[in-house]
């Protein structure tokens, strides 16, 4: 999911573009072109991979699933490995943009975490097209001191904090941001209202949208990446966002040392699971190198290194012994089995009429009409 400040993403993109230009100039025999989320990897992993395999990595970044999807649907991206979220991946598989993985070329798949891959199979049947890179939850991020001041006995472990109009009203003054992504936000509103999180049910979603419209006056903004910055700088006091983003805001706030303390909570009613998947486009120019890269990423030490850096959980069971203690024992990153059992996944919407009705309900709620 989204991570990193947009400006950083931009700078990274510039650097990557420069790298691309240099790469062309050098014309190395072997290379792999990877398109991943911004601020989503430890650079050392790429260097180690180059040293071990002699394959040059041309690394480029994006900051939204939509941008990646548009490139994939247009075709001929020139990338060998891309990292869509599972909900998008599922539709992209149907559109025929990926190729089936030849698992004989991925011996390290034996390290995979069966429970995670089983959940992913909902999007990618038989895990035929993708491997997991990271997974996480969509929950509540908040500014500890500001919440305490505005709302002393706030229910921090419940969706009631943000979806009960009376509660949210108290937080209006210190700033509220929600994800601008209906498929990540609507299900949690449905759960709060006591319905199934299945957001392909248009009737229920319309009810949820009506509820959201009631919250509208207290919401500063719907945006899918600005909240990281805003939370880290203390400009908002609560957000509904992706786990990794909020944990990133937390560490940035600590680095800044201005006394902003950020925390993340997975509401006890249940929260949404998301997965970022690595897949190979059907027209990938460097197929062998792409497999080499995927197989390298499936190494337990490498997966652990990636998780230690970005603070997201990965779908590699064997990697857990190499994880830093702060990551492994952090229930916000690796939830306890009881919490994990309550996490749900969303079906991908394929019918364009349903999709339109949902987006329409969403836009209506957002503009408060």
């Amino acid at each position: 999911m989204t991570n990193g400040f947009r400006t950083n993403g931009l700078m990274a993109a510039c650097v990557a573009a420069l790298g691309l230009a240099l790469g062309v100039g050098q014309a190395l025999a072997k290379e792999v072109r990877v398109y991943n989320w911004s601020d989503y990897i430890d650079d050392q992993i790429l260097k180690d991979f180059e040293a071990e395999t002699g394959i040059k990595v041309v690394y480029d970044v994006f900051d939204s699933n939509e941008i990646l999807e548009t490139k994939l649907l247009t075709g001929k991206t020139g990338y060998d490995v891309v990292v869509p979220s599972a909900t998008f991946l599922s539709r992209q598989i149907k559109a025929g943009v990926f190729q089936k993985l030849d698992k004989s070329k991925l011996p390290n798949l034996s390290n995979a975490w069966p429970e995670i891959y089983q959940r992913i199979a909902k999007y990618d049947p038989d895990n035929a097209y993708s491997i997991n890179y990271m997974w996480g939850t969509t929950g509540i991020g908040y500014n500890v001191a500001k919440i305490k001041k505005a709302f002393p006995d706030a229910p921090l472990d419940s969706w009631k904090l943000v979806y009960d109009p009376e509660n949210l009203k108290k937080l209006k003054g210190c700033g509220v941001m929600f994800l601008d992504s209906p498929e990540d936000l609507m299900p949690s509103v449905l759960v709060y209202l006591g319905m199934s999180p299945d957001w392909s049910n248009v009737k229920n979603v319309e009810k949820a949208a009506e509820h959201l419209a009631k919250l509208k006056p207290y919401i500063t903004k719907f945006h899918s990446s600005e909240y990281i910055n805003a939370l880290a700088n203390g400009n908002i006091c609560v957000t509904v966002g992706y786990s990794g983003d909020i944990l990133q805001a937390k560490s940035r706030a600590e680095e800044a040392g201005k006394g902003v303390e950020v925390a993340y909570s997975i509401p006890n009613e249940g929260a949404q699971l998301w997965f970022d998947q690595m897949a190979i486009p059907a027209d990938a120019p460097n197929l062998e190198e792409a497999y080499a890269f995927l197989n390298y990423m499936l190494k337990p030490e490498v997966a652990a290194k990636a998780s230690n850096f970005v603070q997201y959980a990965n779908g590699n069971l064997k990697s857990q012994e190499f994880l830093d203690k702060e990551v492994k024992d952090n229930p916000e990153v690796y939830p306890s089995p009881e919490v994990f059992a309550k996490l749900y996944t969303m079906p991908t919407i394929e019918d364009s009429k349903i999709q339109r009705a949902l987006t329409r309900a969403w836009t209506k709620a957002k503009s408060g009409r």
Binding site: T7, L10, S64, E66, I67, E69, T70, L72, L73, T74, G75, R91, K94, A95, G96, V97, G175, D180, P182, K216, I219, T220, K221, F222, E226, N233, G234, N235, E350, S352, Q355, R356, T359, R360, T363, K364, K366, S367, G368
Partner: protein, 310 residues
């Protein structure tokens, strides 16, 4: 000189002239009309989960039958939707409103600036002109980001105002329509200043002197002489600000809140969130029609002025 040589030479010059005119037309054809027809074609198709995400796709392998099938698959359904759903015309109206108010505000700020520049000593003018153009050396995106830093509840503006004690609670400007106005006026101000300056600079001072000699007070001279003579600059500036402001996306996305409805954002949502290329293409075609009217008006006025100048 024989008579026979004349028509031949005329013929050659006609061809040369035609070739010369053909260059801009070719430019227009390749860079404007061709892409426009591609967008128009997509706007008539239907969305599907495929690569590309719409159908029908012209299949020339099937020969004439392929063309016929393709043609039969096109319809105006998407345009119907644009009229059915209020969100679209609301977005258009709200974009026009925001663009119009921003243009007016930019004019109010730019006019005194341009006037001052035109009245400044000749030696100083290039420097002032440079100062107006200088912001373009930084990317628009970075400059809009800078405004986030200024307008934030914890931003520079609030710190300053709280510091001097003008306010006791931070102002919430960020993520409101006010922030969008600030962003648009700031970003497009040079486009207003430059044409105003160029028309004010040409103003003949002797006209104002004559008016003063005949007893006209300065404000009357301004309204009866300076302003009418600067009208071409006013009109050019207004169009240069208004037209791009209508389709603006970056500024409302970064500075605006969720209630700021603008067509650029609606188009983005259709394209990226709904993955509905046909509907977003239809929106784009309609946006073009909305904008073609003022552009045509502008051209008309300009043409008339050229006539008058002769």
């Amino acid at each position: 000189m024989t008579d026979a040589a004349l028509p031949a030479r005329d013929g050659a010059s006609v061809w040369r002239r035609r070739a010369l005119i053909a260059v801009p037309y070719l430019w227009l054809l390749v860079l404007f009309l061709a892409p426009f027809f591609i967008v128009l074609k997509i706007s008539l198709s239907d969305t599907v989960i495929a690569q590309p995400p719409y159908e029908p796709v012209l299949d020339l392998a099937n020969g004439w039958q392929g063309v016929k099938d393709w043609w039969a698959g096109l319809d105006l359904e998407n345009y119907g939707l644009l009229f059915e759903d209020e969100i679209y015309w609301r977005s258009y109206l709200s974009s026009l409103k925001i663009a119009a108010i921003s243009t007016f505000l930019a004019l109010l700020i730019a006019y005194p600036m341009a006037y001052g520049m035109a009245r400044a000593p000749k030696s100083l003018r290039p420097t002032l002109l440079m100062a107006v153009i200088l912001p373009f050396w930084t990317s628009l995106l970075i400059r809009v980001y800078a405004w986030i830093g200024i307008l934030n509840p914890e931003g520079l503006l609030n710190q300053l105002l709280l510091g001097v004690g003008l306010i006791s609670e931070p102002l919430y400007i960020m993520n409101t329509e006010t922030a969008v106005y600030i962003g648009i006026v700031y970003s497009y101000l040079p486009f207003m200043v430059l044409p105003l300056y160029s028309s004010l600079e040409k103003l003949d001072d002797t006209l104002l002197e004559a008016a003063a000699d005949l007893g006209s007070p300065p404000w009357k001279s301004f309204w009866q002489i300076t302003f009418p003579l600067s009208l071409p600059g006013v009109i050019a500036g207004c169009f240069l600000v208004f037209i791009p402001a209508v389709g603006e996306f970056v500024i409302p996305d970064l500075l605006g809140g969720s209630e700021t409805l603008m067509i650029g954002k609606t188009l983005y949502n259709e394209f990226f969130l709904n993955r509905d290329w046909p509907v977003s293409s239809a929106l784009a075609v309609l946006l073009l029609l909305v904008l073609v009217v003022p552009i045509a008006l502008y051209n008309n006025i300009q043409a008339r002025e050229l006539e008058a100048a002769k």
